[in-house]
């Protein structure tokens, strides 16, 4: 046997589960898991790695759409395979009966339980919706394609 330098896979999973507070610990009023939301953003917005929290700036607007987006279904705990920790929402994101006439191409996943702190931005081909439904189906929840992966 020999030692090998690595970030422990269990730590990666625990990061996703909020076990470690390396910086200032967040104040939690409950022991329940956090609520995550998904908001849509215009193609003209500038979300990316520098996004720190949800803001209405650049968010879509239109009939049937509520600012802040929709709640992400989170029924599956983070897990790992090999050395990759991963998590994916357990249901598609579905915005029903909306009219979004200005092109949008991004969804921001953010933590509405922790001051709307940003988690990740995902982009797709620019779209509009007219009196219809916008459905964002999640990738397969595995170590290769899951929505959040720490490899």
């Amino acid at each position: 046997m020999a030692n090998s330098q690595a970030m422990c896979t269990s730590f990666k999973v625990e990061i996703l589960g909020g076990v470690h507070a390396i910086g200032t610990p967040p104040t939690r009023a409950t022991t329940a898991k956090d609520v995550f939301k998904a908001a849509l953003f215009l193609a003209s917005a500038s979300l990316g790695a520098g996004t720190t929290a949800y803001s209405t700036s650049g968010e879509v607007s239109g009939a049937g759409y509520t600012a802040g987006g929709i709640t992400v279904t989170n029924a599956t705990a983070p897990t790992s395979s090999g050395t990759t920790a991963y998590w994916t929402p357990s249901a598609s994101l579905v915005y029903t009966s909306v009219t979004l006439t200005t092109a949008f191409d991004a969804v921001l996943i953010y933590n509405s339980s922790q001051s709307d702190k940003a988690v990740a931005v995902y982009t797709f081909g620019s779209q509009t919706v007219t009196s219809g439904t916008f459905t964002l189906t999640m990738p397969t929840n595995d170590s290769s394609t899951a929505l959040l992966r720490i490899a």
Binding site: T99, T128, T130, S131, T133, T135, T145, R149
Partner: protein, 62 residues
């Protein structure tokens, strides 16, 4: 079949239906549009994300 449109609920038979899709390494997206007298009255979109970038956890050598 009834379709929700900007003009209210309408019979699909009274509308012109157009569909499309794109697929690449990142997404598979399909859409359906309904037109009434050349006016777009309904558009729904289904995006299937296929793969997104991973975060790589690395340890620094010392």
């Amino acid at each position: 079949m009834k379709v929700q449109t900007t003009l209210g609920e309408m019979d699909e038979a009274d509308l012109v239906k157009k569909t499309g899709e794109i697929e690449n390494d990142h997404e598979h997206t399909r859409w359906v549009e309904y037109y009434h007298r050349d006016l777009l009255v309904h558009r729904s979109v289904h995006v299937h994300l296929k793969e997104v970038p991973a975060i790589f956890g690395e340890t620094e050598k010392f």
